[in-house]
């Protein structure tokens, strides 16, 4: 089981993701520079958070044109697992691997804080070890996390149970007050129709050690590793 963490100019959570895979998942992991195109030796790829290309034009917009992204598309089309965190989620939306877009937070500010998210779907390779309806505490750190999509897309996401995480109160209630950035339907994370590509704004990789405030993110990586182990 081998993981790859893609590194764009401006990625800054690449080392966090690498640390979690090597230390907590206990599996081999490589950094993959964005100019590389061969992903054949990997079982799962993580697109980490950060500010790829300085967020120029739109967050994630320029990273989509990096050579590695064509390979990521092929990698995903073959059914392999792709996890996009924060800027990684923005890149997956810009690349068309996930629907919708992430625009400026409704309050305009960059938000760096812990949020609660409710697990809406455990029917994904990234959440199958979690309990449906459980509440995870994870940090967010973004200025463009406001998920938007049209009505037809939202209907489709709901109907196909593809909303994976929603911002909620500590007790699990999904309220506008718990929505940090104005995301439609409090959406914090979604997956594609085939369920092998997931993007989310909160940082599970920064929530894997109690010392850092939360270890709730570990279950995401435990699910991922368990899925790969079962498939091997």
């Amino acid at each position: 089981m081998k993981f790859g963490v893609i590194v764009f100019p401006g990625s800054n959570c690449d080392h966090d993701a690498y640390h979690v895979i090597s230390k907590h998942v206990g599996q081999p992991v490589d950094f993959i520079w964005h100019r590389e195109t061969d992903l054949r030796s990997y079982d799962a790829v993580i697109i980490p958070g950060g500010f790829s290309y300085g967020d120029y034009l739109r967050a994630g917009a320029l990273a989509r044109f990096s050579p590695v992204m064509n390979s990521v598309k092929e990698f995903a089309a073959r059914g392999n697992l792709v996890l996009g965190i924060c800027n990684g989620f923005q890149i997956l939306c810009e690349a068309g691997l996930l629907p919708g877009a992430l625009i400026r937070n409704r309050g305009l500010h960059f938000i760096c804080d812990y949020v609660n998210v409710r697990v809406e779907s455990v029917d994904t390779p990234f959440t199958n070890e979690l309990k449906s309806g459980s509440v995870l505490s994870m940090p967010i750190a973004h200025a463009e996390g406001n998920f938007v999509c049209d009505d037809a897309t939202l209907d489709e996401l709901r109907r196909e149970n593809r909303i994976v995480f929603r911002y909620c109160e500590r007790d699990g209630q999904v309220t506008d007050n718990a929505n940090p950035n104005g995301s439609r339907d409090n959406i914090a994370g979604i997956c594609n129709r085939e369920r092998n590509v997931m993007g989310l704004m909160p940082h599970p990789e920064r929530a894997c050690e109690d010392l850092l405030g939360s270890s709730d993110g570990r279950d995401v990586f435990r699910s991922l590793a368990g899925t790969l182990a079962a498939a091997a």
Partner: protein, 81 residues
């Protein structure tokens, strides 16, 4: 030739930056201003033996594929010869 591309958020998409500017403008006393939407403007120099129509097609393609995100934005292209 020069192509001018204007990228704007779709009317249905909330523009928090435009709202913040509008709020400040109100405080300055611009009572007649009812709304402000913020967008992006690009000037693209185009070289080669292209007709204005071809230059426009090139700019439209660029605006659609790169400069705008069709999920949230519209664009408009002007060609200056």
């Amino acid at each position: 030739m020069k192509a001018k591309v204007y990228v704007t958020l779709k009317p249905s998409v909330l523009d928090p930056q435009g709202k913040a500017i509008k709020h400040s403008v109100e405080l300055l006393g611009y009572t007649a201003v009812s709304d402000i939407r913020q967008g992006k403007y690009f000037e693209i120099a185009i070289e080669g033996p292209l007709s204005a129509t071809q230059a426009r097609e090139e700019a439209v393609r660029l605006a659609r594929d790169v400069l705008s995100n069709p999920i949230i934005e519209d664009f408009r292209v002007e060609i200056e010869e």
